[in-house]
Structures are given as C-alpha cells and as structure tokens.
Amino acid sequence: MSLNHSLKLEIPFQTAAQANIAKQVLLPDPILKPQDFQVDYTTTDNVLVVGFQSIDDRVLRVGVSSVIDSIKTIVETIDELGPETKELQSL
C-alpha cells in the first residue's frame, strides 16, 4: 500500500529560533513502522512545517495526534522556561 494519506501542519512560533528548537526536539523521535507512516519536519522562518504520510486514516490519526501532543509539550516548555516575550522582541 502506498503512503497516499497526507496531512500538512503549519505552526507559527514567535521566532525562527523557537521553530528550530521544536524541529530539533522532534527529529530524534523514531518512527516505529516507516513502511506505514512517515513524518518530515522543516522550518520556514518562524513556521514549523510538519508533513505526515500514511497508508490509511487510522494510522494517520494516531501519528498526527501523537506528534501534536509532543509539539504542545515543547510549546509549554518554551513558554515556561524560555525568554519572556518582551525579551524576544529585543533580540
């Protein structure tokens, strides 16, 4: 079966550095069944772009929701521990 079910997720961060941090955190996550599901991460300026390809909607749903959970954790961590917004504006 081909990986013809796809979803593209675009997430704008406050800065390109934050988008890049998110990409670097997500990249090491192994894909357990690459023959059934694949993910690629890229950044364009401050936007993290996540591309998913899957053999069907069920596998896509599990994979996409899992990656979004990870991204939410990354966003929360940056929000709690990263520079304040006003500091970012001066960078």
């Binding site: 013809n4 079910h5 997720l9 704008p12 961060f13 909607d57 929701s65 939410k72 940056i78 917004t85």
Partner: protein
C-alpha cells in the same frame, strides 16, 4: 502571532483545510475533547493525573502568545481527530 493550520489531502479528493477560529471556546482551552482520559473512565471515579495544565497567562490575565498557540493546537487537534475518526467510520461501513 498567526494561528496554526493543517491541510489533509488524498489523491482524487478535494483537500480539507483546518483553521483556527479564536472566537470559539475549543481554541481557548488546553483541555481537548479527543485527548486525555475517556468520560467512561472519569465517570468510574478515576482522577486524570495527566490532565494538561492551563495555558500560561500574563499578569493581566491574558494568555501568553505561546499559551494561545497551545490552546489553538488543542482545538485543531480535536478537529483533525474528529475528521479522521469520521473517515475511519465511513471506511469501516464500506467494508461491513
């Protein structure tokens, strides 16, 4: 800050785009409908210890930009999960 978006596509069908509507309540919370413990488990008396924290807020009570992003992602995740679950049910109906 802009809002996250998603686009679902499959050969031979029109792509489906998911967008955030900040006025809707589901884009203002980190407690999603399709994530976390099921109502069945919660009604049985279990405590959801993994419940997500509230979005971070400024001293004036507004969500921080990243808190807003996390809430937006939660609503978008719900929309995508419901859409794909519906498609799975349709596919199952075709097989039965």
């Amino acid at each position: 800050m802009l809002h996250p978006t998603a686009t679902y596509s499959l050969p031979d069908i029109e792509p489906t785009r998911f967008v955030v509507n900040p006025a809707e309540a589901r884009f203002q919370t980190t407690d999603g409908k399709t994530t976390g413990a099921s109502p069945h488990v919660l009604n049985a008396g279990q405590v959801d210890r993994d419940k997500p924290s509230e979005p971070r807020r400024t001293a004036t009570g507004e969500m921080t930009p990243l808190g807003q992003l996390r809430a937006n992602l939660t609503g978008l995740q719900d929309d995508i999960n419901e859409f794909l679950t519906h498609r799975m049910e349709l596919a199952k109906g075709k097989k039965d």
